[in-house]
């Protein structure tokens, strides 16, 4: 599977994947016009990675603002992780936030609610 290296724009986050390290990094604001189009490669990548027997998967998020459809996609990604975790796969997520904007931590907390895999919220 080819890795993704999509640069951030004013309305979309940066998306980076590293198959050999089992790492996905997202950062920035996300209010694209078509979130499904933007994130489709990511959902496919995560699906393919979790479908392989490659090893643990780690997500590092530095997301600030998400519009409604981006929230929906994030929840789909978390569902993918949760399902993999349920099958004994090692998955983890770290959500980094600027300590001056504690609201982002509250939001990450909301996302974490239904997740039973390791999900850390880290101030920077």
């Amino acid at each position: 599977m080819q890795d993704l290296n999509i640069a951030a724009s004013t309305s979309s986050p940066s998306i980076q994947t590293d198959w050999s390290a089992g790492m996905v990094r997202l950062g920035g604001d996300s209010y694209p016009e078509n979130a499904f189009e933007l994130f489709r490669p990511l959902l496919d990548w995560v699906g393919a990675y979790l479908g392989s027997d490659h090893g643990p998967l780690q997500l590092e998020l530095r997301l600030l603002y998400l519009n409604t459809s981006s929230i929906r996609i994030m929840m789909d990604v978390l569902d993918q992780l949760e399902a993999a975790h349920g099958q004994g796969r090692a998955v983890s997520l770290r959500w980094f936030y600027d300590s001056r904007n504690a609201r982002v931590a509250d939001l990450a907390e909301e996302f974490r609610e239904d997740c039973s895999f390791p999900f850390e919220i880290v101030a920077e």
């Binding site: 603002y65 519009n67 409604t68 929906r72 929840m75 609201r103 939001l107 609610e113």
Partner: protein
């Protein structure tokens, strides 16, 4: 076995004939009864099989219905969560927006209006006056010997002195008068709908208040004073011209002894 409809009908006819004839012998009746019993068993077995199949269909439908209900419940929960998170993001943006608006119009140190906001308001007042509506007065104030405070005690104390003066200045103003930090230790007062006399009354109150509330640093109290220049808007002039005049008045107040008001 009498499974075919025509043979079943044949059996029924034979039974009817045997029953109608009082001379029918027992072995004939026995054979007929045997045939009837086989048919009865067969139909019972078929009925039981039909019921089993019907029950299985019913069960499958029920399970399908439950799966739908569960899936619906799950999607509803997910949707509610998306809405909740989305609302929170909107709330966050609104707060950020308010904060941005505040920083765009207010001075970070003193909390007074900043130069940009004051300039917008001056322009608006000038436009109103040009339309023949209310005129306005402007005053410029400068803290006397501020440089000495900064040099002697450092910028932290200088900043505290600025905040002290700012809080005292805003107090005696009417609610529609504006006070802002023009830059450095300079403040601008705008009196919408006011004339020179209204400005002077406010300035007198500010000077009294400053004397009544000295600046205290390290247990030591120090009375701060202000020099003022003050003017009323003159019909037809630009804001730059008004500001230039008030600036010159302030300069005169400074050069002729400080702690005083110069009108022009």
């Amino acid at each position: 076995m009498s499974t075919q409809p025509d043979s079943r009908e044949g059996l029924e006819r034979d039974v009817e004939a045997a029953l109608a004839d009082p001379a029918t012998s027992a072995p004939v009746l026995q054979a007929l009864l045997g045939g009837l019993y086989d048919g009865y068993r067969e139909r019972g077995a078929m009925m039981a099989r039909l019921m089993r199949i019907a029950d299985q269909y019913q069960l499958a439908e029920r399970e399908r219905g439950q799966t739908f209900a569960q899936r619906y419940e799950r999607q509803l929960r997910q949707l509610e969560k998306i809405v909740r998170i989305s609302d929170q993001y909107q709330h966050m943006l609104r707060e950020l927006n308010n904060e941005l608006q505040r920083t765009a119009s207010h001075d970070l140190l003193t909390g007074l209006y900043n130069r940009r906001y004051l300039f917008d308001r001056l322009t608006a007042e000038q436009a109103k006056a040009a339309r023949g509506q209310d005129s306005f007065a402007v005053a410029m104030a400068d803290i006397d010997f501020f440089k000495q405070i900064n040099d002697r005690f450092g910028h932290d104390v200088g900043d505290a002195a600025l905040c002290h003066v700012a809080s005292v200045m805003a107090g005696p103003l009417r609610e529609y008068d504006l006070c802002g930090r023009w830059g450095g230790e300079e403040f601008l007062l705008l009196f919408p709908g006011g004339d020179m006399a209204a400005a002077e009354r406010a300035i007198v109150r500010i000077r009294e208040q400053l004397r009544a509330e000295p600046f205290v640093h390290d247990g030591e109290s120090c009375t701060l004073t202000l020099s003022f220049g003050c003017t009323a808007y003159r019909e037809g002039e630009t804001i730059t011209e008004t500001l230039k005049r008030v600036d010159e008045a302030l300069y005169r107040a400074k050069s002729t002894g400080r702690d005083r008001l110069e009108r022009v």
